[in-house]
Subunit: 184 residues, 2 copies
């Protein structure tokens, strides 16, 4: 079984190293992890970004499942590039798994970044835009996609010290993928 | 032809009104706009968020194309819920279109929110995370998905005064969808 490993991990200073660790965890559970190509492309090529896209899409098409890292990235919500890939895999009817190392409810997490107030029974942000208030960890489209196209979002019992690097919840996803897709 | 109308528009105080306007613009061009159900569900129901998800997914499955509003939402990038839907439609092999009312390059836009610096030839944000530096308006996965699964991202020649409500770029997308899917 091949699993596409999506996440903002590719933007970490040690992106290559964390990719190797994820692939090794997959291998230890008998599955093949496919880590995005962002760091294997000549970034000075004029079409570098397109090469990365085509490489990642080909990897997704070759994979049976996705494990997306939906930990907050540059704000309260998940990395949009990762979310695009989760949507793509749901659309391809692949098995969808994801984790977030910050299990707080979205509205609570947002209040770390800006004022969130209640206005006529509606939660709103500093710009007056509605804040989703369903007690979910992130936008309902991702959360319910996981329930309906794979496994519910995995969050750690306690937020790890290194949210960007901790792989405990990731390994739980690998175990779930194996249990659902191989062991049955 | 049916077009799914994705965007953070559903979070605006006048979400219902802007949905009506978008549907009317579609009708004026001879196509059917499908606007998400977020505002047509009893939000006090215990499974409200799941009802919204299922309604939106059914609408996407029924649509031939998507027009996604990728204007920045609560930060430098697009709304993750909208991005999920763009990915889903690309995965379903539907025709993908999108617009952003802020045509700035992502790295430049991010610098309005935090320090973006160059470190050994790599652009990094305040946390030391790599900032995509391909001269694109948003994450490469969305930008190239549009080129390869539909039409390139539409941006206005000049940023409109009301970024959240201006529908000029949206109407351009409708015209492009009609030209590509009906008139050929």
């Amino acid at each position: 079984m091949k699993i596409y490993l999506a996440g903002p991990d590719v933007f970490l200073p040690d992106a290559v190293e964390i990719g190797r660790k994820k692939v090794a965890i997959c291998a230890a559970h008998g599955v093949t992890g496919l880590y995005p190509l962002d760091n294997a492309i000549d970034l000075t090529a004029p079409d570098a970004s397109r090469q990365i896209f085509c490489g990642n899409e080909a990897m997704m098409d070759a994979a049976d499942a996705i494990i997306a890292n939906l930990s907050p990235f540059r704000g309260a919500g998940a990395d949009p590039g990762t979310v695009y890939e989760l949507g793509y895999m749901a659309g391809r009817r692949k098995f969808c798994l994801a984790y977030s190392n910050d299990g707080a409810v979205y509205a609570d997490r947002l209040s770390r970044f800006m004022d969130v107030t209640s206005e006529n029974g509606r939660l709103v942000d500093a710009q007056g835009l509605t804040v989703e208030d369903f007690g979910l960890v992130d936008n309902l489209m991702m959360i319910h996609a996981l329930e309906l196209h794979g496994c519910p979002l995995v969050t750690p019992a306690e937020m790890p010290i290194d949210v960007l690097h901790d792989l405990g919840a990731f390994e739980t996803c690998v175990r779930m993928a194996v249990a659902r897709l191989i062991a049955k």
